[in-house]
Amino acid sequence: MEAVAIDTVWVAVAGCLVLFMQAGFATLEVGFSRMKNAGAVMAKVLINLSFAFFAFWAIGYALAFGDGNDFVGATGWFIDLGNPDGVESLSYTGVSEEIKFFFQATFAAVTLAIVWGSMLDRVAFRAYLPFAIAFVGVIYPIVVHWQWGGGWLLKNGFQDFAGAGVVHVCGATAALAGALIVGPRIGKYRDGRSIPIPGHSMPLAILGVLILWFGWQGFNAGSWFAAVDQDIGRVLVVTNLSGAAGVIGGLIMSRVLLGTMDIGMMGNGAVAGLGAAAGASGFVDPWAGAIIGLSAGMLMVVLVIVVDRLRVDDPIGAVAGHGGGGFVGLIGTGLFANAAGVEALGGREGLLVGGTAEQLGWQLIGFGAIFGFTFVTTAIVFFAIEKTIGLRASEDVEIQGLDIAEHGMFGYPEQFIEVFGASSDDAIPGISSPSGTSTNER
């Protein structure tokens, strides 16, 4: 009884920390956005968090954790409090069904937030609802089911402690598909060159990274779903060494490859290192965490460059940060997973600590499966949205800025000298004007 209460407190606190990561995504993204889209970014984060809770509650949780087959679950719709046993896949922890849902719903919201990060400054607001339903309701839950829902990946010993693959690779893959389909911002690639379109506030961006870092403690260390008899200290140490090493890795590669000490790259390095730790922190020793984080931060910089060379416009580095970090976390687990971790969590020891290559192989298969499935399904969804209601804001809206064009207001109203006129209640804000049309004008 008391043990359950301890676990409950820990998982509840951890879930709150993961929930707070939304504030981190919001500030990180708004910092990397243009000023004219600053309000729209915040609105996006709020509404997607809201949609995520509902989509995961109604169907996502059941597909992810419900009793079903190796591919998908099918019990626990709307949590199903009528069933005293709850979903079987999470029965290893004594906390209540609601706590399980709460913690997992915050993960679903994180995954969804990752997706939209790559598509800043140009997505139409109307696209959020259908995508949230498809992604948080169906696609992400299926990926979850394969592993944490007791599906085929888990059965084959694929290891992913807190979601390097399930959350970060999955989110980053969807971010890649989305950025490909939505296309680059106007003016990003010209005459074969990549033009910097810097965000408007590094302070907000890095505040976002620090909020994420804070929230990530709950993300990783909460993933035991327990505090009694589980080594949350190990997870915390690995997480922070990996995150710290990610910053250093990002800095080194930025200096070496780009010739600058890019501030955003240091922030992204933290994201990559912490994302890598999501996979490895339950399995590896602190020193391995440091190596994993360093590799993640370094790979991330390379990936940013590669993504840019491929003319995929990802203003925030979501693909490189979460995707690169998640990938390294999966591989690192396959290389460094130790006996204690494997005993507690399953799978096999890593190649470099006395294991066989089999685990590494399954890590690669898991990565490939998550990447492939997510890429294809989200590409279809994005494509369908684009062809029906439209995924991308019109050129006019993009040039004017999403704030005034979509929300009828400015994110930083006092950046404008205001001369007020008669309020005209028949006008549609930001789109038509009191007399005449104001399309595509500044």
């Binding site: 005034i404 009828g408 207001m409 400015f410 109203p413 404008f416 000298i417 205001e418 001369v419 007020f420 006129g421 008669a422 309020s423 005209s424 209640d425 006008a427 549609i428 804000p429 930001g430 038509s432 004007s433 009191p434 007399s435 005449g436 049309t437 104001s438 595509n440 004008e441 500044r442």
Partner: protein, 118 residues
């Protein structure tokens, strides 16, 4: 010596600057203004109260040139700023009576002569 003041769309600045620099006239000063003219205002809305903003952001270019250069500079601005939509802006030419280069103390037309960039 003349001072050309042009109120233009932001989008036009880059090519104008490039073309003028290629002509040996990279010198100019740029600032943000809010302009009203034939172009309509737009409606802003906060929590249900609504207002019309009559001033839209424009760029103001200030380019001092010698008399001979007025036409070709004006033409460059015209060509690059023109979209045919209201809001394209206006160009004014004013007379300058004296010009001084602070770095050298030189005065007069020599200060405004075309030169290669850098």
């Amino acid at each position: 010596m003349k001072k050309i003041e042009a109120y233009i769309r932001h989008e036009a600045l880059e090519t104008i600057r490039e073309r003028l620099a290629a002509m040996g006239l990279p010198s100019m000063s740029v600032s943000e203004v809010k302009g009203s003219g034939r172009q309509k205002g737009f409606t802003e809305s906060y929590r249900g109260s609504r207002t019309t903003i009559f001033l839209r952001p424009k760029l103001k270019l200030e380019i001092a040139v010698n008399d001979d250069d007025v036409e070709r500079v004006t033409d460059v601005i015209l060509e690059e700023s023109h979209t045919g939509q209201p809001g394209d802006g206006k160009i004014f030419v004013l007379g300058i009576e004296q010009t001084v280069r602070v770095r050298t103390g030189e005065r007069g037309p020599v200060v405004l002569e075309a030169h290669s960039e850098g």
